[in-house]
C-alpha cells in the first residue's frame, strides 16, 4: 500500500469513528443518585381520581370531571391526560388501577432518542425536552408500555407524558398525584425503599396480595411498582414483557458497529489490493484496467 492510500484510509477511519456510538452510554451507566419511585397498592385505591385532577392542575392540562361514568370503558392516556384510573372487574371484585409512564430504570424511550430529548434523569423521572425533540416518534415505537403521546393535530407537535413531576421531585417534594391520594394507595420514596415496603407487605399479608410486585423486575425494573390482590393480567397489564431491559435488545448490534467500522475498510482495501495485483499478473501490460478503474472509469473507453 502506498503512502497516499494509507493516508486515505486513515482519513476514512477517522471520520467513521467520529460517528461511533458510545457503548458506555448504551449499557446505561450507573446513576450517582438513587432513583425515586412510586409504589401503587391497587388493593387500597378507591377510584376517586383525585390523582388525575392533581396531575392536570400541576401540569396545566384540562381538568377532568371526576364522575363515575368514565369507568364504563377502559381509558388510555392522551396528549392532555398524562394519567388515567381504570376500573377492572376481577376475581376479587372491582379493582382500580392508575396508569401513567412507568419511568423504567433503563428507559427504552430515552435510549431510542437520538437527541436525548427523552431523558432518564439521575433522580429517576424520564422527562421530555422540547428544544431537542425532532418528532421522529422512535420513543413511541420503542416504549414497551405504549406511553408517549404525540400531538398529531398540531403544526408544532409535542410529546406528552407523565414526567413524575420532575420540578417538584428535585425540590424534594412528592409528585402531585401522590400528594393528592387520600388513601395512601400511592407512596413515594427511593426505589430501594419502595421495593422493601412492597416486599414486606406481600410477605406479611399473603392472603391479601399475590406474590408478584409488578415493575420490580419487568423490563429490568420500573420506577412505578404495583401491588395487587389478583394476577396482573386481570388488571390490563402485559405480563409477557420479560425481565430483560428493552435497551439490552440493541446492545449486541451497537457493540458490533465499531468492529465493522474499523475492520470493514481495512478488509475491503486488502481485498481490492489482492484483486488488482491478481489482475496485473493476468492481463496484458497494454491493457489499462487497473489504472482506469483507479480513477473512476472503466476499460474500453478509449473512444
Amino acid at each position: 500500500m502506498d503512502r497516499r492510500n494509507f493516508i486515505k484510509n486513515l482519513c476514512v477511519a477517522g471520520v467513521t469513528s467520529a460517528a461511533l456510538p458510545s457503548l458506555a452510554e448504551a449499557s446505561g451507566k450507573p446513576a450517582e443518585t438513587e432513583f425515586m419511585s412510586v409504589l401503587v397498592d391497587t388493593t387500597r385505591c378507591i377510584g376517586c381520581r383525585n390523582c388525575e385532577v392533581a396531575c392536570a392542575t400541576q401540569n396545566d392540562l384540562p381538568i377532568p370531571k371526576t364522575t363515575r361514568d368514565v369507568f364504563k370503558e377502559e381509558r388510555d392516556m392522551t396528549t392532555d391526560q398524562w394519567t388515567v384510573v381504570n376500573k377492572y372487574d376481577t376475581d376479587a371484585g372491582e379493582v382500580f388501577v392508575k396508569k401513567q409512564c412507568m419511568h423504567c430504570n433503563q428507559a427504552a424511550c430515552s435510549t431510542a432518542c437520538l437527541t436525548q430529548a427523552m431523558y432518564k434523569t439521575e433522580e429517576g423521572p424520564v422527562i421530555w425536552r422540547e428544544g431537542k425533540c425532532m418528532g421522529c416518534r422512535f420513543c413511541m415505537v420503542s416504549c414497551p408500555f405504549v406511553v408517549p403521546r404525540f400531538e398529531y393535530y398540531s403544526a408544532n407537535p409535542k410529546i406528552q407524558k407523565c414526567i413524575l413531576c420532575y420540578d417538584r421531585v428535585i425540590e424534594g417534594e412528592k409528585p402531585a398525584c401522590v400528594d393528592a391520594c387520600p388513601v395512601d394507595a400511592l407512596e413515594f420514596g427511593f426505589r430501594r425503599d419502595m421495593e422493601r415496603v412492597a416486599q414486606n407487605r406481600t410477605f406479611e399479608y399473603p392472603g391479601q396480595y399475590i406474590d408478584h410486585i409488578y415493575g420490580q423486575e419487568e423490563v429490568g425494573g420500573t420506577g412505578w411498582m404495583y401491588l395487587s390482590g389478583v394476577p396482573f393480567d386481570q388488571l390490563g397489564f402485559r405480563t409477557d414483557l420479560g425481565r430483560e431491559s428493552v435497551p439490552a435488545l440493541t446492545q449486541n448490534f451497537l457493540y458490533s458497529v465499531p468492529v465493522v467500522f474499523l475492520l470493514w475498510p481495512a478488509f475491503l482495501n486488502g481485498m481490492r489490493y489482492i484483486k488488482t495485483n491478481e489482475d496485473d499478473e493476468h492481463t496484458d501490460k497494454t491493457h489499462n484496467d487497473v489504472a482506469s478503474v483507479e480513477t473512476g472509469r472503466g476499460p474500453g473507453e478509449e473512444s
Binding site: 448504551a26 431510542a112 415505537v141 458497529v257 475491503l268 473507453e301
Partner: protein, 412 residues
C-alpha cells in the same frame, strides 16, 4: 451521439457563465406532452397541496397514524423499503471497484445516481414524517448526541453515505460542466468513497432493521428475531441488485436515445451476472430465515392466519424468485431474470412492510390502514424522484459515453 457531445462541452469561465449554463439546462429536453408528464404533473400538484395541509394542520390531518402506530408507510415504505431498494449502489461498487469485475462498470454511474437520488428523496420524505423537522439538525450539531440510539447511527450514516455517493457520482457532474481539473480531483476520490460507502451501507442497512429490535413486544414473533439486522443486510444485497435489473430494463427503453456504446454491448451479460449474485445472496437469506424459524421453535405459528401470510412472503416471494433466478441463469434467459427480479422486489416490499407496519401491533383490534393521502404523498415523492433522474440522465453522461477528454484523462 454527436449532438450530445456538443451540448456537453460548455465553456464555463465565471460564475455568470455557470448560472447561464444552469438556466439553459433547466429548460426541458424532449417532448413536453408525454403521457408520463400528463399524469405525473397533476399528481405532483395535488401531492404538494397535501403536504401543505400536513404542515398547517399537523401529521394527523392527512395520515391514519395514532398513538399505538407512530410509524406508517412514510417510514415503512419510503424509508425502510426505499433504502433496501437503493442497496444496489454499494453492492455494485463492491463488485466493480473491490472485486475488479469491470464488465459491470458500464452501469455503475446509473446505479449510483439512482442510489443517491433515492436517498435524497427518501430523506426528504422523512422530513414530512418528522413532527418537528426544523430540529433535524440537532443530532448533527450535538443538541444532543443521542449516542446510545440506533436511530442516531442511522441518521449519521444516511448523511455520510449521501456525501459518499455524491462524490462517487461527481465525475459525471464535472464532465457535464466541462470542468477538467474538478474531474481529475473527484475521480481520484472514487476508491476512498466507495470503501467508505460500503462500510456505511453495511451498517445502516442492518441498522434500519435494528431500529425494530426494541419493539419486541409489538412485532409478531414470526418476524421478530434478534437476527433482523443480519437479515436486513443480506436482503439489501439482492434487493438492490434486483432493483438494478428492474430499473435498468425500464431505463434502457425510456432513454434508448442516450445509451452509449458500452450499454448496448453487454447488457444481457450484465443482467445474467447480476441474476447469479442475487440467487446466491437469496439462498443465504432463505437459509437464515428457515434457521430462525427452527431456532425459535415457531412451527406451531405457521398454521395460523399470520403463519400463512408469513409463508406467502417467504415461499411466494423468496423461494420462488430464488428458483427462477437459478433456472434463468442456467438457461441464460434474460426475460425470466427480469420476472424473478420483479417477484423479489415484491418480496422485499412485503418483508419490510410486515416488520414496520403490518405485523407491528399485530394484536391491535383496529389495525392501521394508510390514509389515501399518505399513499398519494408517497407516489408524489416517487414521481419527483423520477423527474430528477430524468433531468440528470438527459444532461449528464450517465447512460451515455463520457466526453472524449474525460476518457483520455483516465487513460493517461
Amino acid at each position: 451521439m454527436n449532438k450530445i457531445q456538443e451540448t456537453a462541452k460548455p465553456n464555463i469561465g465565471s460564475i455568470g457563465d455557470f448560472v447561464r449554463f444552469l438556466l439553459s439546462e433547466m429548460k426541458p429536453k424532449g417532448k413536453i406532452l408525454t403521457p408520463f408528464n400528463m399524469i405525473s404533473i397533476p399528481v405532483i400538484l395535488v401531492g404538494m397541496g397535501l403536504i401543505v395541509l400536513r404542515f398547517v394542520n399537523g401529521i394527523g390531518a392527512i395520515t391514519n397514524l395514532d398513538q399505538q402506530t407512530p410509524w406508517g408507510i412514510w417510514i415503512g415504505f419510503d424509508v425502510v423499503c426505499g433504502v433496501a431498494f437503493a442497496g444496489g449502489a454499494y453492492t455494485l461498487t463492491f463488485i466493480v471497484y473491490i472485486m475488479g469485475r469491470h464488465r459491470y462498470h458500464a452501469i455503475v454511474r446509473a446505479v449510483v445516481l439512482n442510489g443517491f437520488l433515492a436517498y435524497m428523496f427518501y430523506a426528504g420524505a422523512l422530513m414530512l414524517d418528522l413532527g418537528r423537522p426544523w430540529k433535524i439538525i440537532n443530532p448533527i450539531i450535538g443538541n444532543n448526541f443521542g449516542v446510545s440510539s440506533v436511530l442516531f447511527l442511522v441518521a449519521w450514516h444516511f448523511l455520510l453515505y449521501m456525501a459518499a455517493e455524491f462524490i462517487e457520482f461527481s465525475p459525471a457532474i464535472a464532465e457535464w460542466l466541462g470542468m477538467k481539473r474538478l474531474r481529475k480531483i473527484v475521480g481520484g476520490l472514487t476508491i476512498a468513497s466507495v470503501i467508505f460507502g460500503i462500510t456505511l451501507s453495511t451498517l445502516h442497512q442492518s441498522g434500519l432493521g435494528a431500529l425494530f429490535l426494541m419493539a419486541e413486544s409489538k412485532i409478531h414473533p414470526l418476524w421478530y428475531t434478534e437476527f433482523i439486522p443480519v437479515l436486513f443486510f443480506v436482503s439489501s444485497i439482492f434487493s438492490g441488485l434486483s432493483m438494478v435489473i428492474f430499473e435498468g430494463s425500464i431505463s434502457h427503453k425510456v432513454f434508448a436515445a442516450r445509451l452509449g456504446h458500452e450499454q448496448h454491448a453487454n447488457q444481457d451479460d450484465i443482467v445474467i451476472g447480476l441474476g447469479r449474485i442475487c440467487a446466491g445472496a437469496m439462498f443465504v437469506y432463505l437459509f437464515l430465515k428457515v434457521l430462525v424459524v427452527i431456532h425459535g421453535q415457531q412451527f406451531s405459528l405457521l398454521g395460523t392466519k399470520w403463519g400463512l401470510w408469513f409463508l406467502l412472503e417467504v415461499v411466494g416471494f423468496v423461494l420462488v424468485p430464488l428458483v427462477l433466478y437459478f433456472k434463468a441463469v442456467r438457461e441464460g434467459n434474460v426475460q425470466l431474470i427480469k420476472v424473478a427480479a420483479g417477484l423479489t422486489l415484491i418480496g422485499i416490499l412485503l418483508n419490510r412492510l410486515n416488520i414496520s407496519v403490518i405485523a407491528f401491533n399485530w394484536f391491535d383490534p383496529t389495525p392501521y390502514i394508510p390514509h389515501w393521502a399518505e399513499i398519494w404523498v408517497t407516489v408524489t415523492v416517487v414521481l419527483l424522484e423520477l423527474w430528477a433522474v430524468r433531468w440528470v440522465v438527459m444532461r449528464m453522461p450517465v447512460l451515455s459515453d463520457p466526453p472524449a477528454w474525460a476518457a483520455d484523462m483516465d487513460d493517461n
